[in-house]
């Protein structure tokens, strides 16, 4: 049985349909890339899965548990961790305290939570920044902090919203390597990502959304040939370098404006 199944999810905001009848499944141990132009409904889908939004229709199941109607904290306690596109560290707390808060779900005693938080911080190579305040970190460091914080709740499924967005080009390989390590730990991942080179290289499977609907679902090599996906991107804020062959994943590497 799949670890996560999304069945016919529809989420509307007034007249805007952010997610329309979305269905897919994620197997244990898989890394699924979630792509689509801005406004395709990717982050909304994360918010529906993790309990921040209640969908108008559909059901989400994690390890057999129905998730719709549960609060975000309950979803997390079942084993679903997430990061946010717009980073949300606890600004006035230190890096270590940020992660300790998360670790306290399993380690109520601060000293034990501190140990667990430190190992999470070492994992993302942020342990040397443990006494800095979260507000003083660079964007790349904050992304790793969010990752460490989500990890400290010991999730089985991790939803990562824009791992490399807004990050220095030189930092991207470190983040990609981290995702590899996460898989090594047996985690299942769903990753929203705009950097095509990154998403194509890390994903086992790609799920493409456009205007709230799934327009492609398959291995990276096949998804890049999907005509509707190329149209969706070309019709939006994405640019294909001139002279590049259409449909080549390598060349489809534009960043959103």
């Amino acid at each position: 049985m799949a670890l996560l199944t999304v069945e016919g999810i529809t989420k509307r905001f007034g007249g805007l349909v952010a997610n329309h009848d979305i269905s897919f499944a994620v197997e244990q141990g898989e890394i699924v890339g979630l792509i689509g132009p801005n406004g395709a409904g990717k982050s909304t889908l994360f918010d529906v899965i993790t309990g921040y939004y209640r969908p108008e229709a559909g059901e989400v199941r994690f390890d057999g548990h129905p998730l719709v109607g549960r609060r975000p904290d309950q979803v997390n306690r079942l084993g679903v961790g997430r990061t946010f596109q717009k980073l949300r560290p606890f600004h006035a707390m230190t890096v270590l305290e940020n992660v300790m808060v998360a670790a306290m779900q399993h380690q109520a005693v601060p000293s034990a939570a501190r140990r667990e938080a430190l190992s999470s911080l070492e994992f993302v190579e942020l342990a040397d920044k443990r006494d800095s305040y979260a507000r003083d970190l660079s964007t790349g460091q904050r992304k790793r902090l969010e990752l460490a914080r989500a990890m400290a709740t010991r999730p089985r499924l991790l939803l990562l919203d824009e791992v490399t967005g807004g990050v220095d080009q030189r930092t991207i390989p470190t983040l990609v390597e981290l995702i590899g390590h996460l898989r090594g730990q047996g985690l299942t991942l769903v990753v929203i990502e705009h950097n095509m080179r990154v998403i194509m290289s890390i994903s086992d499977r790609i799920l493409a959304l456009h205007l709230g609907e799934v327009i492609a679902d398959g291995p990276p090599s096949e998804v890049v040939k999907e005509r509707r996906l190329i149209e969706a991107y070309l019709g939006d804020a994405f640019v294909v370098p001139s002279g590049g062959p259409r449909g080549s994943g390598e060349r489809l590497r534009g960043e959103p404006e």
């Binding site: 904290d73 606890f90 006035a92 305290e97 998360a102 779900q105 989500a150």
Partner: protein
């Protein structure tokens, strides 16, 4: 950490710094405690004693607000114990004890629906409820209505919680309450509860994402806060022996309490005490020096000082003294 703010000024070698800080902190605390214990015997002016009693009382109320960490609980629940005492002849101590669960229950009943609102909207809702309660109190004869409650005069005794020949007992009772309040805050700061409170204050949605049931923890904060406000209110009633809606329920009182914590340092152990120790005497001083001129000069000076703090030291005065005073 939190054992006394001025110790951060100590310059010491990196290795021994923490332990030196701790020793200084403990020493400073001991000196402060002795000084407060000895104060009424050294300075026998009743006016000064009254001022310090009010500093302690306000420090405790501000600390209670601080526990609620920016989620402003507006309602003064001093009435419960006085009503119990007057209408049914309950002992004031029993009233104080009974007032706490009543206050906690009321705060939960009000907090639960209001916690669905965020930030400013929560504040607006609680302010509205505060105003409703004040209007109710003014028109409800059972609790004295607009005339207020005058507590029955009794002979001096600890049991009756009334002291007339010597006001010293009031001083020590409020000091004990303040110390209890600080100890509870100190304890909370060091446990999961404190970490959760701070995370919820920083970003409730991120807090949820790491598995914190935020409504439950906000209610806990509200309950702790209400318990101390209730105890403070009962003390006030016994000290002044008179309660009326205009003196214990106005919005301006809630704002004053919140200001003390903000000026001293929100989310810090010592901030509310520092704020109260500075602002309560300051407002007295400006009132005495400049009040009665009919031009509200005292309020102008008071307001200007508050503005200065807000502009130049938003972390609160405790923030001047080191890392611990974070905003």
């Amino acid at each position: 950490m939190g054992t006394g703010e001025p110790v951060t000024a100590v310059k010491a070698q990196e290795g021994t710094r923490a332990s030196v800080r701790r020793v200084w902190g403990m020493g400073l605390l001991a000196v402060m405690l002795l000084a407060t214990l000895a104060f009424p015997w050294v300075d026998r002016l009743p006016y000064h004693r009254d001022l310090v009693i009010r500093v302690f009382l306000y420090a405790m109320l501000a600390q209670a607000w601080n526990i609620l960490a920016g989620y402003c609980g507006q309602i003064s629940l001093a009435y419960a114990s006085s009503v119990l005492q007057m209408r049914w002849g309950w002992n004031p101590w029993v009233g104080l004890g009974a007032g706490i669960p009543v206050a906690v229950a009321l705060s939960m009943a009000i907090g639960y629906p209001c916690f669905r609102l965020r930030g400013h909207y929560f504040a607006i809702a609680t302010i509205a409820i505060g105003e409703i309660v004040q209007t109710l109190a003014i028109n409800w004869d059972f609790i004295g209505g607009a005339r207020g409650l005058t507590l029955p005069f009794q002979k001096d005794s600890l049991l009756a919680f009334q002291f007339h020949t010597s006001k010293y007992p009031y001083y020590y009772i409020v000091l004990a309450l303040l110390i209890l309040c600080l100890l509870v805050s100190w304890r909370i700061e060091r446990t999961r509860l404190g970490y959760y409170f701070r995370a919820i204050r920083e970003d409730p949605e991120a807090a949820q994402s790491v598995g914190i049931p935020i409504t439950r923890y906000k209610l806990i904060a509200m309950a702790v806060s209400a318990a101390f406000v209730s105890a403070g209110g009962s003390f006030y009633a016994q000290y002044v022996l008179y309660l009326d809606p205009d003196s214990v329920l106005p919005l301006s009182l809630s704002i004053l309490i919140c200001l003390l914590a903000v000026v001293g340092g929100v989310g810090t152990l010592w901030g509310p005490l520092v704020g109260a120790a500075l602002l309560i005497p300051l407002s007295e001083f400006t009132r005495i020096q400049f009040g009665g001129t009919g031009r509200a000069v005292d309020l102008l000076i008071y307001g200007a000082l508050l503005t200065l703090v807000a502009v130049f030291q938003p972390a609160g005065l405790v923030g001047l003294l080191g890392r611990r005073g974070r905003p």
